[in-house]
Amino acid sequence: MKLKNVSTSRRALLGAALSGGGGFLLSAFLPGLPLLKASQAQDTATGVVFRPNAFIRITQQGAVTLIMRYAEMGQGIYTGISMLLAEELGVTLDQVSVEAAPADPAYVDSVAGEEETGGSSSTRDSWIPLREAGAAARMMLVAAAAQIWKVPESACQARDGRVFHPADERSLAYGELAEAAMHQPVPAKVALKPASDFTLIGTSPRRLDTKAKTNGSAQFGIDAQIPGMKIGRIMACPVKGGHLTGYNRDAALAVPGVVDVLTLPDAIAIIGEHMWAAIKGMEAAFPQWEYGPNATTSIGDIVARMKKASEQSGVVAVKNGNALEALKQAHTRIDAVYELPFLAHAPLEPINTTVHIRPDGADVWVGTQVPGRARQEVADATGLRPETIAVHNHLIGGGFGRRLDSNSIGQASHFAKQVSYPVKLIWTREEDITQDQFRPYYYDRISAGLTQDGALSGWHHRTTGSSVTARWYPEGMQNGLDPDAVEGAAQTPYAMPDQLVEFVRDEPDAVTTLWWRGVGPTHNVFVVESMIDELAHQSGQDPLALRKKLAAHQPRALKVLDEVEKQSGWGKELPPGHGMGIALHYSFQTWAATVMEVAVEKNGQIRLVQAHSAVDCGPVVFPDGIVAQIQGGLIFGLTMALYNEITLKDGRVEQTNFHNYRMMRLNEAPDIQVHLVSDPDAEIGGIGEVGTVAAAPALANALFAATGKRLRRIPFAKQLGGEKA
């Protein structure tokens, strides 16, 4: 995620993109790309096309197409990135079309080090370079116009898709300038607009992707329709590590509409003319399995081993002062264990891949957060050279980290190479949940103390769990330390003179682990912010006041705390059964303070009354996008905190669909007020995961305020049944 050290300057991206030029970009014209037309201009591309860099294409007919290196999965990135490009290019958003980028090195996010949408990094990593890409293109267009008019460039202005020469009251449209602009040199140096001149950045325009999503025309990966395509249902061995031992081929083929039965060592696919044939064919095939070494693994075994592993010290992430000694001296001391469950992503669009493998190349139509990895998966499965494989990225019906892994694309390719036709392989919801790669289970031991006057006196946090980094990005490991596993624990908002943070790696049997929205902070901020709350209550201090005291050296922390205190009416008299809880965190370079108000009935029913979140993410590109992400991120996190856990019995995942892996519904969702108190001069922060991070600790602290019961294990809802409340 955002863990990679990149020494090259961000400008390298602009240079690379500029020099990368047309050769790579030919792939951008492959058919089947999901175009999202925001403009009326037709991108017919007759004549020449001005391609100043990998992100902008202007035809002589005047069609302006912006190429999106990030996947749109609801976070509004197509709009945000278009604003950055358009602001400097000098076009309005209704003049542009947007298009998903193909898998191509030109679209590598230089901070991530690969083509990737994740880690709340897209806007952060694009803030400078994509504005520069827009500005460079504008400068070339202006230079072209100046050359035609034989006037100095400084006498020209560019806006709304035209270059103006005010002195002579004449102008030329970008399309008319396309050919001349092609011959202009790429500027060596670009100057960006000062913030005071922004006309788009900082506004909330209509999102570019939403119109198509109101009328069914938006194309998600699962909607791909390729001529000659068949549709398949996959079933993989229900226990990881097992293999297929038998199935009834004849019965499956006897189902009307079934055309093929394909197998892999650990999975079977029934291919049909339509999904229903594939589903019925799978029932008829009735696959049998040898479950392998994990056949008896249950959640209790996994947690027991983790608990034992947590008793030994781990790799040290942070060591300041002497935490253990300070704890001995503490006036108030709390020793606690926090546990966080395995989590499925359960995006509403189930995992699917449409792929066509040919002897000389392949096409894959899919929604992915990592197009480069997707292409490599196809290459690995088929032996094809990556450059012969085109990845047509689609709108994503929910990512949340799931589509940062491409194992399903590799699996689909292994099946698809057995047939000559294009095939769409869909995981049923049951498959999507049971075969997911899960957010790790974490077993956290934490001890913390306060001095008599309320300062921290020792902080020892040892987290035990799987390392996603070690599997997904082994280069990111730091001498055995997984930086993600301690993100949000190693650095907290608080002054911790005596701090010891450790990581114990324990890889669970029977599951594969993966990133999940909010990554390390979603895990650690729950533990840290619950613990701060515990210390406040134990020492008789107001939880918000204690945070202010401990974060006094962080002016931006104080600002969001002040704002949320004011907006939420913190400290006001609440009705019986109500409680307010707070969480403060700095994640993805964004500061946020969130207050949650809950009401708990005698029967244990939890009602989410209202949430207030004060956010400082530095410069603001798309304010309404930020509000939407905080609202949605909170609901995503509250859903998890209340309801979600993946458990295993006899090696199998016990949750299968939304009746047993529960989702928050509209009639449970709280009102959520977001207050932007951004510092325009600060470093720009990410936003897509910030709300999710705040949810569990704010809720746990509110539930404590309402009931006096400290919940140290997620999920909460079943712990507050009537008899238990």
Partner: protein, 153 residues
């Protein structure tokens, strides 16, 4: 088996098994992919279409049960007065994030407003609680329904 399906005002003949859910007929036979597959067990509402004006889950509606009835999908909802208002309200309130559930949300909201032009929050709760939005757009869905209702007058 052959069935005549009345979809968006047009009769389409399909030759499919009688227990085939309308969801897959729409998506895989008729290429109307706006109706989404989310769970297959009527828990999420992503596949909501109208059957004679009632919101139903296409994933469990068999083609045999739907034949001879009027089916309306997201692709044609703009041709209804209420549907167009709902779509506009969805855009005005910027409800949508990933959008995968929103076909179903819009179909459910349109049916609600067709039956109750001025719904209370309780009416909205009852009509919309069956539609899951994983992105958590619920706050705005409620607002957008009230907004669409205010245009109803």
């Amino acid at each position: 088996m052959r069935f005549d399906l009345k979809i968006n005002g047009v009769v389409r003949e399909v030759d499919v098994p009688p227990d085939m859910p309308v969801l897959w007929v729409l998506r895989d036979i008729l290429r109307l992919t706006g109706t989404k597959y989310g769970c297959g067990v009527a828990q999420c509402g992503a596949c909501t279409v109208h059957l004679d004006g009632q919101p139903v889950r296409a994933c469990l509606l068999t083609v045999a049960a739907a034949a001879e009835h009027d089916i309306l999908t997201i692709e044609a909802i703009e041709h209804t007065e209420t549907g167009a208002k709902v779509q506009q309200a969805w855009l005005d309130e910027e409800v949508i994030q990933c959008g995968y559930c929103q076909s179903g949300q819009i179909m459910a909201a349109t049916a609600l407003l067709q039956q109750i032009p001025q719904p209370t929050d309780a009416d909205i709760d009852e009509a919309m609680a069956g539609n899951i939005c994983r992105c958590g757009t619920y706050v705005r869905i409620r607002k957008a329904i009230h907004k669409a209702a205010s245009h109803e007058a």
